[in-house]
């Protein structure tokens, strides 16, 4: 009897010792999220993009654009210039977006019919990114230290082993600024690119699903990756947005003066 008690405590002791070491084997989620945050931040890029907005009834609005981007010195915010090529009645419209992770982004828009550059003020991060189902926040990414993470499981999606990580806001401010009570991301283990993400609104209801496919390495030296097809679908409204990139090139030495209002007015 006494022997039994001893052996049980010996087993418990062994287990107790074993547990912390198992814990240590678990990936550091904060580190993963930090890498995930920067994996698609290129120095600069040029690309053709097609924006397809699809409503509940399957009707489409298609806009073709030519875009350039350049990462600012802080390594977080991008400057993006988008020139509309079609449909014909908006051809020549140019938008300039200067991201600010900490405050409202600056947007300027040039309307050829008005022949004027006007400033557009977007209200906050949770609003729609240029009328798509992505929000400004979705495009820039979320500050890693403002969210708590939990590894839900690991699973394979489209042949890629992924971490399934749940992120919840650390404060109500973060929650109301982002508009999300929860995000669940599927991150590829090999490059930490998000290939799928589920979002839940502030009330905790499923809001939308984002998928990122045709993931390509665009800068091998810096380890930068880009999804060539992005899709956001709002499960509450039935509205969808598909963004397709073509001729995506990085490190093109894009000049800063590209991102000025003066430059926008040039044809």
């Amino acid at each position: 009897m006494k022997q039994n008690v001893l052996s049980v405590s010996a087993i418990l002791l062994l287990l107790g010792l074993a547990l912390p070491s198992a814990h240590a084997a678990e990936p550091d989620l904060n580190q993963i999220m930090e890498k995930n945050f920067v994996v698609n931040k290129m120095v600069d890029s040029v690309s053709d993009a097609t924006f397809t907005l699809i409503n509940r009834d399957g009707q489409e609005r298609v806009r073709k654009t030519f875009g350039t981007s350049k990462l600012e010195a802080n390594g977080i915010d991008n400057m993006r210039m988008t020139r509309f090529l079609s449909p014909p009645d908006v051809k020549g419209t140019v938008s300039l977006l200067i991201e600010h992770a900490d405050k409202d982004d600056d947007i300027w828009i040039y309307l050829p019919a008005l022949k004027k550059v006007r400033r557009l003020v977007s209200s906050d991060k949770k609003t729609s990114f240029v009328g798509t189902d992505f929000s400004y926040g979705d495009v820039i990414g979320y500050k890693v230290n403002e969210w708590s993470y939990k590894l839900l499981r690991e699973e394979t999606v489209d042949g890629q082993p992924c971490y399934v990580i749940e992120a919840t806001p650390k404060s109500d401010t973060v929650k109301s600024n982002s508009g999300y009570a929860k995000r669940i991301g599927w991150l590829r283990k090999d490059n930490l690119m998000t290939i799928k993400s589920d979002y839940f609104d502030e009330a905790g209801e499923p809001l939308k699903t984002l998928t990122f496919s045709d993931v390509q390495q665009v800068d091998a030296k810096r380890g930068k990756w880009q999804a060539m097809k992005l899709e956001a679908s709002n499960v509450q409204t039935g509205h969808r947005t598909i963004i397709k990139f073509e001729n995506f090139k990085v490190n093109q030495n894009v000049k800063d003066e590209f991102f000025t209002t003066r430059y926008m007015e040039k044809e």
Binding site: L53, Q59, I107, L111, P112, R119, L120, S122, S123, N234
Partner: protein
């Protein structure tokens, strides 16, 4: 005939058992009855207003609009206590079943945007992302509303005394009541002494209509009870009360059973049809019963039979004499109603089948079950006989009628009839075809008060959709189209009953102004289509993807203009539609069409129902005329049978004209019922007169006999049914039941009086061949 009846009497227990079995079967089948509540399924889907409403719903989501208004008892809406109520109600409604979240509109709705013009450009922000916490934020909200007039009178009243939440719902199981219950529950939390909260819109009214109509469940039994009591007073026997009611109730049950078995849908518009079946079935049953008593008393007086022998023989005799008449009258009416099968509208077909089957059922019961039952029942006692024979008010009335018709005062009958026709025609010319759900309820109902308050304070709780449709995509971006829409809105808003209009034009104007530094001179549609396109792109880049979804379709081919109206009157809506059509013909570019939905659907429903019902009346009248003419082989007979029927319908319309009751969906149904009542009486009277004359009775005496026998039965039925439906007058606050009560009552009395007075009078005056010179 005689052998058949004797056979029935011999197998009376089997007949009774079979009848009860058939009834159980019918009731079990009636449980399969499909009940349709959605008026859409009853509309001809080809009607342009109906298809447009469907299109508006499919493209823009809008279907049923609920408006919740909040008026603080003190001050304006710019108080945290009021605005937080707006926010909470909005949030709660967003979670309601069937609500269209993207179409939600209120100060705190996401798509309610503040467009701000600045020196360097434009800002688009949510109007009220959170309730203003301090005076500065409150002032900012005031300023935001001031510069965005699109929201004025829609979600905030012009004097800022009332705020509104406009929610749009689609159809959900449980119908309008399911919508209304959710809204009521949400609003109940927010009612307190600080504010007055009003709920309005179509679901409010239609849910009340459902609830109030359910009173029929207890009013109908009381009606039947009263009907029975009047019959008891007339016959002075318990059988006189129960037997006609048994026929009537079983006929309704059989009718429902047949419909259930054949999968013919029942709908709300046929909820009153049992009343007609009840009236017709009682009519036949009372004729039969009256004749039975006559025969029985005659046998007892002239023979030495035992009561039991006299009873069985009286059953046989009454059936021999009345049976063929009843079958004739029943077939005429049933064929008239079955002829409605040719109609496109399902509710009319149901009306025809249901009534036709009910009449056939009543005939079958009177030919089988009732004689069998009566031969089982105890024959009338001597006390019954004495009571039946004492002189009552009925005898005095029929005596008077007989005196007028046969005496020198007959001319006065014609003069009276002529005056009646003239008065009725004059009234008929004043009938207003108009449907407004509000008129169904009395003025002082709490929800009526709510509705009036909402309509007085805001743009209006009823919505008409004007769909502007171009030939191809981007048609709406054409400045000429937007300009015309803007002018049309301006013109419509001059009408006192139109408090607000909203369309894409409002937002384009506002953007144009904002992009020009908020200069009021630019609050107009720009002249360049490119600029309009670029504004739309611009807005789409600053707003949410769905912000304009309720104003313009995805391809910019169709625009939806919402017209908020303070009334749901179909007559008024028709005027507005006519005005818009006239405007569109001259102001919109070629290829751009306007169509109507929303309230216009009520116009379509009313138009279809009223016209449909009038056609029904004409068709049934024609069938009755043709068949009666064939039966009597005389056009004069056809005309004579038709006469009380026409006078009844005339009386109905005349009464509506003089009393100001609208000819609407519900009253047109009642008029169509009136047509089914009159013909029977004429047929009974004509047959009885021929029978008396065949016996060799002198003609004036024969007429007198007819009036005091079959005529008295007619009077019994008419008064009993009228009194029965008089019960509906007690349905407080619900005009629909009161109209039904009055119109049915008048129909019964006029059809009886016109049959009793005019048919004998005309026969005596014109001496038609089919009465006096028959080839035997």
């Amino acid at each position: 005939m005689k052998r058949y009846i004797e056979w029935i009497i011999r197998h009376r227990y089997a007949v009774i058992a079979l009848t009860l079995l058939a009834t159980v079967l019918a009731v079990s089948q009636a449980r399969n009855l499909k009940v349709i509540i959605d008026p859409n399924t009853m509309l001809p889907q080809s009607h342009p207003y109906v298809s447009t409403t469907d299109l508006v719903e499919k493209t823009f989501g809008s279907k049923y609009v609920v408006v919740v208004g909040i008026t603080p008892k003190q001050g304006d809406i710019f108080q945290p206590i009021v605005l937080s109520k707006v926010q909470r109600i909005t949030v709660a409604l967003l979670k309601a079943k069937g609500v269209l979240p993207e179409n939600m509109l209120s100060l705190s709705a996401r798509r309610a945007k503040d467009i701000i013009g600045t020196a360097e450009g434009m800002e688009v922000r949510q109007l009220m992302p959170s309730v203003p916490a301090n005076e500065t934020q409150m002032q900012a909200l005031r300023a935001a509303l001031k510069r965005n007039p699109a929201y004025l009178n829609a979600i905030v009243s012009k004097d800022a005394a009332t705020a509104a939440i406009i929610a749009e719902f689609k159809d959900i199981p449980g119908g309008f009541r399911a919508i209304q219950d959710q809204v009521d529950a949400i609003v109940a939390h927010e009612r307190d002494y600080n504010v007055e909260i009003m709920v309005g819109g179509l679901p409010t009214y239609l849910s009340r209509l459902e609830i109030y109509s359910e009173r029929m469940a207890f009013l109908l039994p009381i009606s039947i009870l009263v009907l029975g009591l009047v019959l008891f007073e007339a016959f002075r026997t318990r059988q006189g009360m129960f037997l006609p009611l048994a026929t009537a109730i079983l006929a309704v049950a059989w009718g429902l059973g047949v419909m259930g078995a054949f999968g013919i849908p029942m709908d709300v518009f046929n909820a009153t049809t049992p009343i007609l079946i009840l009236a017709v079935a009682t009519g036949h049953a009372v004729q039969m019963l009256k004749r039975y008593y006559e025969e029985y008393y005659l046998l007892r007086k002239t023979n030495d039979m035992t009561p039991k022998e006299a009873n069985d023989l009286a059953v046989v005799n009454s059936l021999i004499h009345v049976g063929p008449v009843m079958i004739t009258a029943g077939m005429v009416a049933a064929l008239g109603f079955f002829s409605l099968m040719v109609f496109e509208i399902s509710t009319v077909r149901t009306f025809g089948v249901f009534t036709g089957v009910g009449i056939l059922a009543a005939m079958m019961l009177e030919m089988t079950f009732i004689p069998a039952l009566r031969s089982v029942l105890k024959p009338p006692s001597d006390a019954d006989t004495r009571r039946e024979h004492s002189v009552h008010i009925w005898d005095r009335v029929t005596g008077k009628i007989a005196e007028w018709v046969t005496g020198p005062k007959r001319k006065r009958v014609y003069i009276g009839a002529a005056i009646f026709v003239a008065v009725a025609l004059a009234g008929m010319s004043q009938v207003i075809v108009n449907n407004t759900t509000k008129s169904y309820f009395s003025y002082d109902q709490p929800f009526q008060r709510d509705d009036r308050a909402l309509n007085a304070r805001l743009g209006g709780a009823n919505t008409l959709y004007v769909l502007v449709e171009g030939a191809n995509d981007d048609a709406i971006k054409n400045p000429a189209v937007l300009q015309a829409m803007d002018e049309l809105q301006h013109q419509l808003e001059q009408r006192p009953e139109i408090g607000k209009t909203v369309s894409l034009a409002d937002f384009i104007k506002r953007m144009n102004q904002a992009m020009h530094g908020d200069d009021a001179a630019y609050y107009k549609i720009p002249e360049s289509q490119e600029l309009i396109s670029q504004y739309l792109l611009l807005y789409s880049m600053s707003g949410e993807p769905g912000d304009f979804d309720s104003y313009v379709d995805y391809g910019y081919r169709m625009a939806n203009m919402t017209v908020f109206m303070k009334t749901d009157s179909t007559a008024y809506t028709e005027q507005v539609i006519a005005e818009v059509n006239a405007f569109a013909a001259t102001h919109f570019p070629a290829g751009v069409k306007v169509r109507f939905g929303g309230l216009a659907e009520a116009v379509a429903l009313n138009e279809t129902m009223v016209h449909g019902k009038i056609l029904n009346i004409a068709q049934i009248a024609a069938v009755v005329f043709v068949i009666s003419s064939l039966v009597f082989r005389s056009l004069a007979a056809g005309a004579l049978v038709l006469l009380p029927l026409l006078l009844t319908v005339l009386a109905n319309f005349g009464l509506m004209g003089w009393s100001g009751i609208y000819l609407n969906i519900s009253t047109s149904l009642t008029s169509a019922m009136a047509v089914g009542i009159g013909a029977d009486y004429a047929i009974y009277l004509i047959f009885r007169l021929r029978e008396e004359l065949d016996k060799g009775v002198e003609e004036l005496t024969a007429v007198r006999n007819v009036i005091t026998t079959a005529g008295k039965a007619v009077l019994f039925v008419a008064i009993a049914v009228a009194a029965g439906y008089g019960v509906l007058l007690t349905s407080s606050g619900f005009n629909l039941h009161k109209w039904l009560s009055i119109l049915i009552g008048v129909a019964m009395i006029i059809s009886a009086l016109s049959a009793l007075l005019l048919i004998p009078a005309l026969i005596l005056s014109f001496r038609p061949n089919f009465i006096f010179r028959r080839k035997s």
